[in-house]
């Protein structure tokens, strides 16, 4: 039924999203918002669209991510999804942390019998994460379990040990999937499967047809095959469609996004409008990126040794003015010091700290320490895009967890000294020294708040907040006594202790993230009838400590970093919404092999699960290497395009462990 399919094609900053937004508003004024479906790639974009509409009147806003739409529809049409009696009113949607927990249990139970994964050294948790990712990847690529198994066995080829492990993996994935069905608990992969169950019925398709006239899709290049299939359905039931496509946006290729397939499916039926003007990056950056691309691509074939492969192609040489500087040293420490000096010099010449990005493939402690130290001396701060968002780094959420550990001694988790100290500083308004004295006393008293009389408090601890201390002590004792449920506990701490201290928005969100997440967690555990005693609390806390609990919402899009030098890994930098672009980019450790991040793990290989996988081929080092190189090239190009004035390349002969660095990235810039 599709009349027009128009695709706006252009690089980042070429105004595609603005065109789509304008189109949406124009159509909304004509036919109403309810007749238009908008598909976006992530939740912040959805929020951004919804918040910035300039419509005087609007009906329901059908602006979704693929996942959000699937969730909404499976929930609404739930009685039509399963053909069995005894459904709960709504399904239970499981977040990724809970999915990992359930899968970890399954893997552990099996491993306890010592017959599965015998030759695998990975932890059960890491195996569980890979199994869940396999299911997710399979779902995104519309593979059923039999196909998933076939692909994994393809990958194993003649390696019988590997084949055995994959068969075991499949059995556990099936067991997990069955348990989800049994309890009506829906994780990401099952959600997609159930959504397609709906999409395959005429009744549902008819409803879609009656509901929508138009379809708008932004960032088509990031859509996985499953979302593309949905788009195909929508094209068959709507009138006109408008989409945006960034030919350079290949960055989440191995997280399911499939630009090649999108081109193949939609371009031939579309009117394509090329947008050549762009606003983000500078022309110099784009030209330079093009030259790098041309150079790497010109060296044909699969590259085994970078230097040799680039021999035939033209060197960057004279056309490399975009390279602002090259820093090299024998030892890494020296190199880091020099980079820090150059950063300081740039700031002295008037460059804003937030306009400088320092990118390394592996952010280790040495790097962070050197930078923090050296820059601090000049009054400069760094902003580590990787580490900024851990819930545990926010004193309020830390206090929430610290108190939980004090109230639930049976978890056998002990808050560390710093957590205790900071919690007392926050709750009792102490200075750090007195917070530390109190923390020591609590540790010495086996993690119970000691009896302290008023005089002692005044004399030794020197704080006046006698009543506050007593209140806290009595409160903890009361909660231990009452054996209060954890889910209620978190919210009580928040309401009764933390909220009255006037937390700011980020702190509130962090606390709520914990409370909310635990609620979700507890809901699923209940649905599964798991009585794990201490394990749940323990698992939950360790998840937060490891930073696995999603905390991305802490930084809303729009709050850009201006006053701190940005330190990041390539992927985080490219995908972060906190930085649009910087003026100067430092690429560190260009000799390091870490730049070539592999896409495979022992049990996970997104490539063999993608539609591009050629079933006649065998997975071998050549393919692996070629994919790694493509990925690196995409990363480098995206990095360069996120800069506007120039890049610095920094390398050392030896890495921090004293091993010679021989990665080939260095050769790309010769």
């Amino acid at each position: 039924m599709g009349q027009i399919l128009k695709i706006y094609k252009g690089p980042a900053g070429s105004g595609k999203t603005t065109i789509l937004k304008d189109k949406y508003q124009e159509l909304a004024r004509e036919v109403g918002t309810d007749r238009i479906m908008v598909l976006l790639q992530n939740a912040p974009s959805v929020r951004d669209w919804k918040n910035n509409l300039q419509l005087k009147k609007s009906g329901p806003l059908n602006i979704f991510t693929f996942f959000g739409l699937a969730q909404d529809q499976v929930r609404t049409y739930w009685p039509e999804v399963y053909d069995i009696e005894g459904l709960p009113v709504d399904p239970y949607f499981m977040n990724v942390e809970t999915a990992h927990y359930i899968m970890t249990r399954i893997v552990e139970q099996r491993r306890d019998k010592k017959d599965y994964f015998v030759n695998l050294n990975s932890t059960s948790n890491s195996i569980a994460v890979q199994l869940i990712d396999n299911l997710n990847q399979a779902a995104l690529n519309l593979l059923n379990m039999a196909e998933l198994e076939a692909r994994l066995l393809d990958w194993a080829a003649d390696d019988t040990d590997k084949g055995k492990i994959f068969k075991e993996a499949i059995l556990l994935m099936n067991q997990y999937r069955e348990s989800c069905h049994d309890h009506f608990v829906i994780d990401y992969s099952l959600l997609i499967k159930l959504f397609f169950r709906l999409l395959k019925t005429d009744r549902y398709l008819k409803r879609l047809e009656e509901s929508y006239d138009y379809l708008i899709v932004d960032e088509l290049e990031l859509t996985p095959p499953a979302a593309q299939k949905l788009i195909e359905y929508m094209l068959s039931v709507t009138q006109d469609s408008f989409m945006a496509y960034n030919p350079e946006g290949k960055i989440n290729r191995f997280f399911g996004g499939n630009p090649k397939l999108a081109e193949k499916k939609f371009f031939h039926q579309a009117e394509i409008e090329e947008l050549t003007e762009f606003y983000g990056a500078s022309q110099e950056a784009v030209d330079f990126a093009e030259r790098i691309k041309g150079r790497v691509k010109a060296s044909s074939g699969i590259h085994r040794s970078g230097a040799r492969n680039l021999e035939g192609s033209q060197k960057l040489a004279d056309s490399s003015e975009y390279i602002e500087g090259r820093i090299s040293s024998e030892f890494r420490g020296d190199m880091l010091g020099k980079v820090a000096d150059e950063v300081i010099r740039l700031v002295e010449t008037g460059v804003e700290p937030g306009d400088i990005g320092v990118i390394a493939p592996h952010l280790d402690k040495v790097l962070e320490f050197t930078f923090t130290e050296k820059l601090a001396r000049e009054g400069l701060d760094i902003f580590n895009l990787l580490r900024s968002k851990r819930l545990i780094d926010i004193p309020y959420s830390q206090a929430l967890l610290t108190l939980a550990q004090l109230v639930y001694p049976a978890w056998k988790l002990r808050p560390d000294f710093t957590s205790l100290q900071q919690t007392f500083v926050l709750l009792l308004d102490l200075d750090p020294v007195r917070g530390a004295i109190l923390a020591e006393r609590v540790i010495a008293n086996e993690y119970r708040l000691p009896e302290i009389d008023q005089q002692e408090l005044r004399e030794r601890l020197g704080f006046k907040r006698f009543e506050e201390y007593n209140k806290l002590q009595a409160w903890i004792a009361e909660k231990i006594e009452a054996e209060i449920e954890v889910r209620d506990f978190f919210q009580q701490v928040f309401v009764e202790f933390l909220a009255p201290l006037s937390p700011d928005e980020e702190e509130i969100i962090a606390c709520r993230q914990i409370i909310k997440s635990f609620h979700k967690f507890a809901e699923i555990i209940e649905a599964y009838n798991i009585t794990d005693g201490n394990r749940i609390g323990k698992y939950f806390i360790s998840m937060i400590n490891k930073g696995t609990l999603a905390a991305e919402i802490l930084n809303e899009p729009g709050q850009k970093i201006r006053d701190k030098v940005i330190v990041s890994t390539p992927y985080k930098f490219i995908t972060s919404t906190l930085v649009d672009s910087v003026e100067y980019l430092f690429l560190l450790d260009t000799g390091s092999q870490f730049w070539f991040s592999g896409i495979t793990k022992e049990l996970l290989n997104p490539y063999v699960l993608s539609p591009q996988w050629n079933q006649q081929a065998n997975w071998d080092d050549r393919i692996d290497r070629s994919l790694k190189q493509d990925q690196l090239l995409d990363n480098i190009l995206s990095l360069i395009r996120k800069s506007s004035k120039g890049i610095y390349l920094a390398t050392s002969l030896f890495d921090s462990r004293g091993i010679e660095q021989e990665g080939e990235l260095v050769d790309w810039f010769i």
Binding site: G32, A43, N51, L53, Q54, L55, K56, K57, S58, G59, P60, L61, F67, T76, Y77, W78, P79, E80, Y82, I84, E85, G86, L87, P88, V89, D90, N95, V96, V129, D133, N136, Y188, F255, D488, Q491, V495, E496, A499, P500, E505, I508, I509, R512, Q513, I515, K516, H519, T548, A550, E552, I553
Partner: protein, 270 residues
């Protein structure tokens, strides 16, 4: 959210009602975003009552969307009874347009308003338009209460202003009714008429309130606190450092979870 961000905020009936009850409560919820989880300070019985209300709204939505097989769902006997009573009360008929759980937004003259209707009932042939709202509380619904309720004022105003696309061709405000119905009292229908005059009055009223709120500085909210509603308020630990007494279930509790959902970000990968 900073006070200035309120300019982008769409005021719902819950938000306006909160402001009218206690401006400080409004500030805590919508500016400081201190939103309590819905179970806070509720007894098990109250919690069950809230859940029953939510389940009923879900079942009613599916009923009007024409989703079959509701009998497969284990909704609890009470919620199921509610649904049966609803079916008796309002059988789905051909020729009528039913828009359940329908959201409309108004954004003019710096005033942003939103309404989520439990059901819009549009009979184009007979020119009849009804806004239905389901209540599930224990109390018998009173016309005099709902007549002046901000929900009535807001919902009727928004539908007339924004709904033209859905309304019959020669629709006039006088053709609109709002009906509150509670399955606990299936015989009682609280029906509120509308008129052009009322529409103008509602507009003035809403504009005044929104203007008043948007002009307030952060500190001024505290100065406006009534002080006599604190004993059962969830913000008592903050305002007065004391626990609230058991708080009653209000229908608005049904909406609170929405604020929670909006914050949830789903992460797919590691």
């Amino acid at each position: 959210m900073a006070v200035k961000e309120l300019e982008k905020f769409y005021f719902s009936q819950t938000a306006i009602k909160t402001y009218l009850t206690c401006p400080l409560d409004f500030r805590s919820r919508y500016i400081d975003k201190l939103i309590w989880p819905s179970g806070y300070n509720k007894t098990e019985k109250q919690q069950a009552q809230i859940e029953r209300g939510q389940v009923f709204h879900t079942l009613a939505n599916r009923y009007f969307l024409g989703i079959g097989s509701q009998e497969k769902v284990e909704a609890g006997s009470e919620a199921r009874d509610y649904l049966e009573r609803l079916k008796d009360y309002l059988p789905v008929e051909a020729g009528i347009r039913y828009l359940p759980e329908y959201e409309l937004r108004y954004n003019q003259d710096g005033v942003r308003l939103m309404a989520k209707f439990d059901l819009l009932y549009i009979d184009s042939e007979n020119g009849e338009v009804i806004i239905y709202d389901w209540k599930t509380g224990d109390n018998q619904p009173e016309t005099s209460y709902y007549q002046k309720d901000i929900q009535t004022i807001l919902y009727q105003f928004i539908l007339v202003e924004v709904g033209e696309r859905y309304l019959p061709a020669d629709f006039k405000p006088g053709d609109l009714k709002m009906i509150y119905w509670n399955p606990n009292y299936p015989e009682i229908e609280v029906e509120i008429e509308y008129s052009k005059k009322q529409h103008q009055e509602n507009k003035n009223y809403l504009y005044n309130i929104i203007e008043e709120i948007l002009e307030l500085e952060y500190a001024e909210y505290a100065e406006l606190t009534p002080g006599d509603k604190c004993y059962r308020c969830n913000y008592r630990p903050i305002c007065e450092g004391e626990q609230p007494e058991e708080s009653p279930v209000v229908e608005d509790d049904l909406d609170l979870d929405l604020d929670w959902e909006m914050l949830e970000e789903i992460k797919f990968y590691n």
